[in-house]
Symmetry: C2
Subunit: 192 residues, 2 copies
DNA sequence: ATTTAAATGTTGACATTGCACACATGGTTG
DNA sequence: CAACCATGTGTGCAATGTCAACATTTAAAT
């Protein structure tokens, strides 16, 4: 191995992503990351000004990936598209619980750490808004679009956490809301 | 001040609650708590086996309070009751952002720390289920009740985070979902 | 090509933290 | 009064984030 790692920044992010999904955000130390990648404890500071900044970069990566998943459903139309987005969202959360938690589990702090994070999360929300605009056939600038998107995001986020968290594990898995359940509620309300 | 504090346990919890709403969960150290209350750094260990356990107890307290807020709306009926619950939920989150984040921001770990936490969070969910059962006029044991409650909780949780987090601060405050908005969606779906 | 500057990685050190141990204190009970 | 035990104190240790000084490699400039 050379003195220079090659692409330490990417290696750290990759390792962090594994670790965060395995041990959760709590069991993630900068020193441990460095050791796992095979560099000295302080090497990460050449690529991230702080641990927060690394976590912020990881979050941004997560938002970008989620936005990408949305994009794959963009060719569908009507309710199918809605269900596609919901499935993509729930699927992402289920497959990357630690990362998902990281993305939404902290407040503004990381935003000021990494402007890219703000950019990516906004892009993600914009993608949601374009979904709403398309489903309702509204102009993107219509005031009702962001309002609707916020509610859809609310439902997604809550359902994703229900799925990830053991906080409500007493609710059997087959009773947790599915993408179709959410879509039905959005379209026609919640009914018995 | 006497050698014995009197009710150190309660004092610690109270102080922790202030600190968590002020500085967030990150800026909360056992040692700092002890200092703020005026005892030695290790005194808390006589009342909580670990930091996690203290946080778990605080969470449990939060769930109990939230359940209490639900109870004050129990005399209302129909949609009014639904709106009451939603307002209570959003109000609690807005008034105690740090605590709310603590309650929902961690996975199962605290549950195993403090059985009371599991008990309280379950009681909270049961309260939500009884709301659903009443609004829909269903038997409490009906399978559709927990499913509906899970969806309502999803919406509440997402909306609460939208309100608390600056992660989507770019959404103007007056466009964020209100309790009435959520109620309308639940009753009749999300419409433009 | 040689020199020089910038980028990257290493080492040592320090403050903070959660936590474990042994010990001190003081109210309670026989 | 004496013994006990819950409660609080002190010391100490390992892990962690971060800073400062130094080493090495690569790239740029002359």
């Amino acid at each position: 191995m050379t003195y220079h790692h090659g692409d330490l920044r990417a290696a750290l992010l990759s390792q962090a992503r594994c670790a965060v999904d395995a041990d959760g955000e709590a069991g993630l130390s900068l020193r441990g990351l460095a050791a796992a990648v095979g560099v000295s404890p302080n090497a990460p500071y050449r690529h991230f000004p702080s641990k927060e900044a690394l976590l912020a970069a990881l979050s941004a990566q997560g938002f970008a990936e989620l936005t990408g998943r949305f994009a794959t459903c963009s060719d569908q139309v009507g309710t199918d598209r809605l269900i596609g987005y919901l499935s993509a969202y729930l699927g992402f959360a289920r497959e990357n619980p630690g990362l998902y938690r990281l993305m939404f589990g902290r407040s503004l702090a990381p935003l000021s750490c990494d402007p890219a994070l703000g950019e990516q999360s906004q892009a993600c929300f914009r993608s949601l808004m374009s979904l709403i605009a398309a489903v309702w056939d509204l102009d993107e600038t219509d005031d009702r679009v962001p309002r609707g998107a916020a509610q859809v995001w609310s439902m997604c986020h809550g359902a994703a956490l229900l799925d990830i968290d053991q906080a409500i594990a007493f609710l059997p898995e087959d009773r947790r809301p599915t993408a179709s359940d959410l879509a039905a509620t959005i379209v026609g309300g919640l009914r018995p």
